[in-house]
Subunit: 267 residues, 2 copies
DNA sequence: CGAGGAGTTGACTTTGTTCAATCCCCGTGG
DNA sequence: CCACGGGGATTGAACAAAGTCAACTCCTCG
């Protein structure tokens, strides 16, 4: 392999136009309010530089902007109650970073540079303004889409680091919370799906699902009769699920230093 | 438990207005082009009824509409090359179904009723029209968001049913494909992340990642030197990953009848 | 050149899967 | 009204895959 073919691609500078194409049909990273298609939008084209290990943003920070990577790479990650770190995505040149937080007031993850990285910054004011011009429909779509992405990432985290018991309890609580949201009893309900379907969703076999349900019942935390479930001790259940639940307004992540600047500054 | 509290909530009829609130700030399910916020949009308010086990749509079908659940519940699922089924989401009253396919020409999953279900139908023509009126920015956002959702679901599926080897190979191929997209060599590249970070992403420990890399190298499929990876036998690698890869323009799913067919029928 | 983080490798343990037998509703039909 | 059949669910035992703990090597960075 020659250098030309074996080079370290991500380190190669990439013209912004290229990165922006990648990001979708972004206009040049240079100011281009026009191209954004909504009147009055300033693309407020700033360039951000990060060194390896530095944070682009922290979970819980107010969402001020989203980014497109020009050069380098970024990981977005979360931490769990018990201190484990879960990488939810890797981002490479052309990818958007922070998109999953667009419709939120606070970032839903940490973003850390895996190497020296340059990004185009788009102020969220501009984007929100654009969003405001969207049909309400569009906003709702965005909102709903974001909700589904969020849930998918929760599942992702669940599958990556929860035990069978934790997964099942988490799943039951999701159902309960869903029912509560809709104004129904959240402590007694009927499963609409088979053990097999549950297992498929949370990455277990139907036997394991069944066994775990039995164990929880033995422990007096729930009652199981066919597909009718009663949650007897929600605090205890939440405690189990919490072990590997994503911290929402979290403390500091541990992986890597944050280069001082944006660092959570804990040692 | 009394009936009043222990009733089967999801079976309860729910006024459409309620379901629509749930779905975001959807207008009444009754015709309300106005409320959609874009001129000329017909909400083309149709109601769809499904009986338990029926499909709402199939993977690969042209995307004609998306739905909001009024009563009932839906699972969306995919199948893998080797015939396993993976549930990617459960949807309950108020949830949107098919949203993840909005920006695509074909549905990216199957949607099956878990019980008798009623849904509000929104023709995608109307939605696309709305999308067309969005700033190009908005469309790109939608596109990018959808891309991230898709990837999250791929990870979800990977975590739920792939072995360590399959996960790692899939991950390497994702990296390679990403590089190829960006015009770089896709057979030799440098990992930007540690074994630990890879492991976190694909749900393995760093030791397992290391071991699997070694095994693949032993087998002559790849070369590993520190963080420099060379893919020597991509067909073989693809074959490994394919075992549990989501079928794109798939045949029929086996779980439940769709009016006739049933069980996985293999064994 | 030294220190320390990253990576590899091995031995052992744990967790969940697999295979298989059995149970239990529930709906059907006698 | 009750027997029967069948799919979903439960449970057990053996097994396998990945995790854990630990020792050791090798770069890389300072």
């Amino acid at each position: 392999m020659t250098q030309s073919d074996d080079r370290q691609p991500q380190r190669e500078a990439m013209p912004c136009s290229t990165c922006c194409q990648m990001a979708g049909a972004w206009p040049e990273c240079a100011p281009a309010g026009q191209a954004l298609g909504a009147p009055g939008i300033e693309a407020s084209q700033r360039l951000v530089r990060l060194r390896k290990g530095e944070f682009l943003y922290l979970l819980g920070d107010p969402v001020t902007s989203i980014y497109a990577i020009r050069v380098g790479s970024i990981k977005t990650h979360v931490t769990t109650e018990d201190g484990r770190t879960q990488v939810v995505a890797f981002h490479f040149p052309g990818d958007m970073v922070g998109l999953d937080s667009l419709v939120r007031p606070h970032y839903a993850s940490y973003a850390t540079a895996l190497e020296d990285t340059k990004l185009c910054l788009f102020t969220v004011d501009a984007l929100r303004l654009a969003a405001a011009t969207l049909a309400p429909l569009g906003r709702q779509l965005l909102q709903a889409l974001d909700g589904q992405l969020q849930r998918a990432r929760e599942v992702q985290t669940m599958l990556a680091l929860m035990t069978a018991e934790e997964r099942l309890v988490t799943f039951l609580l999701w159902l309960a919370d869903g029912l509560a949201l809709r104004g129904f009893s959240s402590s007694a309900f009927v499963l609409r799906m088979s053990r097999e379907e549950i297992g498929s969703y949370i990455g277990l076999t139907l036997e394991t699902v069944s066994r775990q349900l039995s164990r929880l019942a033995e422990g007096g935390l729930i009652t199981v009769r066919h597909r009718t479930i009663t949650l007897l001790d929600k605090p205890a259940l939440r405690a189990i699920a919490a072990r590997a639940t994503i911290l929402a307004h979290a403390p500091a992540p541990r992986l890597r230093r944050a280069g001082g600047a944006s660092a959570p500054a804990q040692g």
